[in-house]
Protein backbone atom coordinates (compact mmCIF):
# COMPACT_ATOMS: atom_id res chain seq x y z
CA UNK A 1 0.00 0.00 0.00
CA UNK A 2 1.42 3.38 -0.94
CA UNK A 3 1.71 6.48 1.20
CA UNK A 4 -1.75 7.66 0.14
CA UNK A 5 -3.27 4.82 2.16
CA UNK A 6 -1.58 5.77 5.40
CA UNK A 7 -2.04 8.34 8.14
CA UNK A 8 0.75 10.31 9.78
CA UNK A 9 0.79 10.13 13.58
CA UNK A 10 1.98 12.97 15.83
CA UNK A 11 5.29 11.18 16.31
CA UNK A 12 5.89 11.22 12.56
CA UNK A 13 5.28 7.53 12.15
CA UNK A 14 2.93 6.39 9.41
CA UNK A 15 0.22 3.94 10.32
CA UNK A 16 -2.71 2.29 8.60
CA UNK A 17 -6.14 2.60 10.17
CA UNK A 18 -8.02 -0.69 10.51
CA UNK A 19 -11.75 -1.24 11.03
CA UNK A 20 -13.15 -4.73 11.80
CA UNK A 21 -16.75 -5.54 10.84
CA UNK A 22 -18.30 -8.82 12.03
CA UNK A 23 -21.47 -9.68 13.93
CA UNK A 24 -19.52 -12.16 16.07
CA UNK A 25 -17.71 -10.72 19.10
CA UNK A 26 -15.42 -13.74 19.07
CA UNK A 27 -14.40 -13.13 15.49
CA UNK A 28 -13.83 -9.40 16.01
CA UNK A 29 -11.56 -10.10 18.97
CA UNK A 30 -9.82 -12.93 17.14
CA UNK A 31 -8.98 -10.75 14.13
CA UNK A 32 -7.74 -7.95 16.39
CA UNK A 33 -5.63 -10.34 18.45
CA UNK A 34 -4.21 -12.36 15.58
CA UNK A 35 -3.16 -9.65 13.16
CA UNK A 36 0.57 -9.05 13.54
CA UNK A 37 1.19 -5.80 11.69
CA UNK A 38 2.67 -3.03 13.84
CA UNK A 39 1.62 -0.38 11.35
CA UNK A 40 -2.05 -1.36 11.64
CA UNK A 41 -3.95 0.68 14.20
CA UNK A 42 -7.45 -0.47 15.11
CA UNK A 43 -9.79 2.52 14.98
CA UNK A 44 -12.98 0.60 15.79
CA UNK A 45 -15.18 -2.45 15.35
CA UNK A 46 -18.76 -2.78 14.12
CA UNK A 47 -21.33 -5.58 14.42
CA UNK A 48 -23.32 -4.88 11.24
CA UNK A 49 -23.23 -2.87 8.04
CA UNK A 50 -25.09 0.15 9.41
CA UNK A 51 -22.76 0.47 12.39
CA UNK A 52 -19.85 0.11 9.99
CA UNK A 53 -21.04 3.04 7.86
CA UNK A 54 -21.30 5.29 10.92
CA UNK A 55 -17.90 4.24 12.23
CA UNK A 56 -16.36 4.65 8.79
CA UNK A 57 -17.52 8.28 8.59
CA UNK A 58 -16.05 9.02 12.02
CA UNK A 59 -12.73 7.23 11.72
CA UNK A 60 -11.89 7.14 7.97
CA UNK A 61 -10.13 3.74 8.01
CA UNK A 62 -7.69 2.67 5.29
CA UNK A 63 -8.25 -1.09 5.67
CA UNK A 64 -11.47 -2.93 6.54
CA UNK A 65 -12.13 -6.58 7.33
CA UNK A 66 -15.74 -7.34 6.43
CA UNK A 67 -18.05 -10.21 7.33
CA UNK A 68 -20.90 -10.80 4.86
CA UNK A 69 -23.78 -12.37 6.76
CA UNK A 70 -24.84 -9.74 9.28
CA UNK A 71 -28.13 -8.29 10.57
CA UNK A 72 -29.53 -4.87 9.54
CA UNK A 73 -27.15 -4.43 6.58
CA UNK A 74 -25.13 -7.27 5.07
CA UNK A 75 -21.50 -7.05 4.04
CA UNK A 76 -22.13 -7.00 0.29
CA UNK A 77 -24.22 -3.82 0.48
CA UNK A 78 -21.85 -2.28 3.01
CA UNK A 79 -18.83 -2.83 0.74
CA UNK A 80 -20.51 -0.89 -2.07
CA UNK A 81 -21.34 2.00 0.28
CA UNK A 82 -17.83 2.17 1.74
CA UNK A 83 -16.18 2.13 -1.68
CA UNK A 84 -18.53 4.90 -2.84
CA UNK A 85 -17.37 7.03 0.11
CA UNK A 86 -13.67 6.20 -0.24
CA UNK A 87 -12.59 4.43 -3.44
CA UNK A 88 -9.05 3.87 -2.10
CA UNK A 89 -10.22 1.84 0.92
CA UNK A 90 -8.89 -1.74 0.95
CA UNK A 91 -11.46 -4.34 2.00
CA UNK A 92 -10.78 -7.94 3.01
CA UNK A 93 -13.92 -10.07 3.15
CA UNK A 94 -13.75 -12.67 5.95
CA UNK A 95 -16.76 -14.94 5.62
CA UNK A 96 -17.99 -18.51 6.01
CA UNK A 97 -19.78 -18.17 2.66
CA UNK A 98 -17.47 -20.31 0.61
CA UNK A 99 -19.15 -20.32 -2.82
CA UNK A 100 -17.52 -18.65 -5.82
CA UNK A 101 -20.59 -16.60 -6.71
CA UNK A 102 -20.47 -14.82 -3.36
CA UNK A 103 -16.75 -14.09 -3.68
CA UNK A 104 -17.25 -12.72 -7.20
CA UNK A 105 -20.12 -10.52 -6.06
CA UNK A 106 -18.04 -9.11 -3.19
CA UNK A 107 -15.13 -8.37 -5.52
CA UNK A 108 -17.43 -6.71 -8.03
CA UNK A 109 -18.72 -4.41 -5.30
CA UNK A 110 -15.16 -3.38 -4.55
CA UNK A 111 -13.62 -5.87 -2.12
CA UNK A 112 -9.90 -6.51 -2.62
CA UNK A 113 -9.51 -9.92 -1.00
CA UNK A 114 -11.48 -12.88 0.33
CA UNK A 115 -10.66 -15.15 3.27
CA UNK A 116 -12.88 -18.06 4.22
CA UNK A 117 -13.84 -18.83 7.80
CA UNK A 118 -12.57 -20.74 9.63
CA UNK A 119 -9.02 -19.44 9.20
CA UNK A 120 -5.65 -19.85 10.88
CA UNK A 121 -3.61 -16.91 12.18
CA UNK A 122 -1.18 -17.47 9.34
CA UNK A 123 -3.93 -17.35 6.70
CA UNK A 124 -5.27 -14.14 8.21
CA UNK A 125 -1.89 -12.44 8.21
CA UNK A 126 -1.11 -13.56 4.66
CA UNK A 127 -4.46 -12.20 3.49
CA UNK A 128 -3.87 -8.85 5.23
CA UNK A 129 -0.34 -8.67 3.80
CA UNK A 130 -1.73 -9.26 0.30
CA UNK A 131 -4.28 -6.53 0.89
CA UNK A 132 -1.65 -3.96 1.92
CA UNK A 133 0.73 -4.61 -0.99
Amino acid sequence: MGSNGTTMAANGRRYIKLMIVDDSNIMRRRIERSQQFEELQLVGTAGNGLEALELFKKTDPDVVTMDLTMPRMDGIECIGRLVAMKPAVRILVISALADKATAVEAMERGANGFLNKPFTDRQLNEAIADLMR
Binding site: S24, I26, M27, A96, A98, P118
Partner: protein, 148 residues
Protein backbone atom coordinates in the same frame (compact mmCIF):
# COMPACT_ATOMS: atom_id res chain seq x y z
CA UNK B 1 -33.53 -39.57 1.46
CA UNK B 2 -30.24 -38.19 2.66
CA UNK B 3 -27.31 -38.89 0.34
CA UNK B 4 -23.93 -39.86 1.72
CA UNK B 5 -22.24 -36.97 -0.11
CA UNK B 6 -24.64 -34.50 1.48
CA UNK B 7 -23.97 -35.90 4.91
CA UNK B 8 -20.24 -35.62 4.21
CA UNK B 9 -20.57 -31.90 3.43
CA UNK B 10 -22.22 -31.20 6.79
CA UNK B 11 -19.76 -33.37 8.72
CA UNK B 12 -16.70 -31.84 7.05
CA UNK B 13 -18.03 -28.34 7.69
CA UNK B 14 -18.14 -29.22 11.37
CA UNK B 15 -14.84 -31.03 11.75
CA UNK B 16 -13.07 -28.39 9.66
CA UNK B 17 -14.00 -25.74 12.20
CA UNK B 18 -12.26 -27.64 15.00
CA UNK B 19 -9.24 -28.55 12.92
CA UNK B 20 -8.58 -25.03 11.63
CA UNK B 21 -9.68 -22.95 14.61
CA UNK B 22 -8.29 -25.08 17.42
CA UNK B 23 -5.53 -26.80 15.42
CA UNK B 24 -6.79 -30.12 16.76
CA UNK B 25 -8.88 -32.38 14.55
CA UNK B 26 -12.25 -33.72 15.64
CA UNK B 27 -13.26 -37.29 14.88
CA UNK B 28 -16.69 -38.59 14.03
CA UNK B 29 -18.48 -41.44 15.71
CA UNK B 30 -20.79 -43.91 14.02
CA UNK B 31 -23.92 -42.18 12.66
CA UNK B 32 -27.24 -43.53 13.88
CA UNK B 33 -30.89 -42.91 13.16
CA UNK B 34 -32.72 -40.55 15.45
CA UNK B 35 -35.65 -42.02 17.31
CA UNK B 36 -37.97 -39.62 19.08
CA UNK B 37 -36.60 -36.27 20.20
CA UNK B 38 -32.84 -36.16 20.47
CA UNK B 39 -31.08 -35.21 23.69
CA UNK B 40 -29.49 -31.87 22.93
CA UNK B 41 -26.70 -30.13 24.80
CA UNK B 42 -26.73 -26.64 26.33
CA UNK B 43 -26.01 -24.78 23.06
CA UNK B 44 -27.40 -25.54 19.61
CA UNK B 45 -26.87 -23.89 16.23
CA UNK B 46 -29.70 -24.39 13.73
CA UNK B 47 -29.67 -24.18 9.92
CA UNK B 48 -32.89 -24.48 7.94
CA UNK B 49 -32.78 -25.81 4.41
CA UNK B 50 -35.36 -25.34 1.68
CA UNK B 51 -35.53 -25.39 -2.12
CA UNK B 52 -34.55 -28.63 -3.83
CA UNK B 53 -34.41 -30.33 -0.43
CA UNK B 54 -36.13 -29.45 2.81
CA UNK B 55 -35.03 -29.98 6.35
CA UNK B 56 -32.89 -28.83 9.18
CA UNK B 57 -29.35 -29.29 10.47
CA UNK B 58 -28.41 -28.87 14.13
CA UNK B 59 -25.02 -28.64 15.77
CA UNK B 60 -25.45 -29.14 19.50
CA UNK B 61 -22.56 -28.95 21.96
CA UNK B 62 -22.00 -29.01 25.72
CA UNK B 63 -20.74 -25.93 27.52
CA UNK B 64 -17.57 -27.76 28.61
CA UNK B 65 -16.58 -28.46 25.02
CA UNK B 66 -17.23 -24.88 23.94
CA UNK B 67 -15.24 -23.58 26.90
CA UNK B 68 -12.16 -25.58 25.91
CA UNK B 69 -12.60 -24.54 22.28
CA UNK B 70 -12.68 -20.89 23.35
CA UNK B 71 -9.51 -21.43 25.39
CA UNK B 72 -7.80 -22.90 22.32
CA UNK B 73 -8.85 -19.76 20.43
CA UNK B 74 -7.09 -17.62 23.10
CA UNK B 75 -10.47 -16.24 24.11
CA UNK B 76 -10.92 -15.14 27.72
CA UNK B 77 -14.63 -14.37 27.76
CA UNK B 78 -16.64 -17.47 28.67
CA UNK B 79 -20.01 -15.80 29.11
CA UNK B 80 -23.34 -17.21 27.98
CA UNK B 81 -23.35 -14.76 25.05
CA UNK B 82 -19.91 -15.89 23.94
CA UNK B 83 -21.02 -19.55 24.05
CA UNK B 84 -23.98 -18.64 21.83
CA UNK B 85 -21.69 -16.68 19.56
CA UNK B 86 -19.33 -19.65 19.18
CA UNK B 87 -21.99 -22.25 18.43
CA UNK B 88 -23.41 -19.79 15.89
CA UNK B 89 -20.01 -19.52 14.21
CA UNK B 90 -19.76 -23.32 13.95
CA UNK B 91 -23.23 -23.40 12.37
CA UNK B 92 -22.22 -20.54 10.09
CA UNK B 93 -19.28 -22.60 8.82
CA UNK B 94 -21.50 -25.63 8.23
CA UNK B 95 -23.90 -23.38 6.31
CA UNK B 96 -21.12 -21.86 4.21
CA UNK B 97 -19.81 -25.32 3.26
CA UNK B 98 -23.30 -26.42 2.27
CA UNK B 99 -23.80 -23.36 0.04
CA UNK B 100 -20.51 -24.05 -1.69
CA UNK B 101 -21.18 -27.75 -2.28
CA UNK B 102 -24.91 -27.69 -3.00
CA UNK B 103 -25.16 -24.51 -5.05
CA UNK B 104 -28.17 -22.28 -5.35
CA UNK B 105 -30.73 -25.09 -5.65
CA UNK B 106 -30.49 -25.35 -1.88
CA UNK B 107 -31.67 -22.32 0.07
CA UNK B 108 -29.74 -22.34 3.33
CA UNK B 109 -30.77 -20.03 6.14
CA UNK B 110 -28.62 -17.79 8.25
CA UNK B 111 -28.01 -19.89 11.39
CA UNK B 112 -29.96 -19.28 14.57
CA UNK B 113 -28.92 -20.30 18.07
CA UNK B 114 -30.82 -22.06 20.84
CA UNK B 115 -29.59 -22.33 24.40
CA UNK B 116 -31.33 -24.48 26.91
CA UNK B 117 -34.50 -24.91 24.88
CA UNK B 118 -35.27 -28.27 23.39
CA UNK B 119 -35.36 -27.78 19.62
CA UNK B 120 -38.34 -28.96 17.67
CA UNK B 121 -37.22 -31.36 14.95
CA UNK B 122 -40.28 -31.92 12.77
CA UNK B 123 -40.18 -35.17 10.88
CA UNK B 124 -42.37 -35.78 7.88
CA UNK B 125 -43.48 -39.32 7.07
CA UNK B 126 -40.59 -41.14 5.48
CA UNK B 127 -38.08 -38.53 6.57
CA UNK B 128 -35.15 -39.84 8.52
CA UNK B 129 -32.85 -37.88 10.77
CA UNK B 130 -29.27 -38.94 11.32
CA UNK B 131 -27.22 -38.17 14.40
CA UNK B 132 -23.46 -37.99 13.95
CA UNK B 133 -21.33 -37.80 17.11
CA UNK B 134 -18.52 -35.22 16.81
CA UNK B 135 -15.72 -36.10 19.23
CA UNK B 136 -13.04 -33.59 20.15
CA UNK B 137 -10.56 -34.08 22.96
CA UNK B 138 -12.60 -35.65 25.77
CA UNK B 139 -15.86 -34.01 24.67
CA UNK B 140 -18.65 -35.02 22.36
CA UNK B 141 -21.11 -32.89 20.38
CA UNK B 142 -23.79 -33.98 17.92
CA UNK B 143 -24.61 -33.08 14.38
CA UNK B 144 -28.27 -33.81 13.60
CA UNK B 145 -29.23 -33.85 9.91
CA UNK B 146 -32.84 -34.23 8.84
CA UNK B 147 -33.58 -33.75 5.12
CA UNK B 148 -36.37 -34.87 2.81
Amino acid sequence: MLHETELKTFVEGTTNFFEVTAQQPASIGSPYLMEGSPAVHEYTGVINISGKREGVVYFTAPKAMLTVLLMKMQENDFSHETMRDLVGEVANTISGNARRDFGREFVISVPSVLSGEKPDIPQKPGQRAFIIPINWRSHSAKLIVSLT
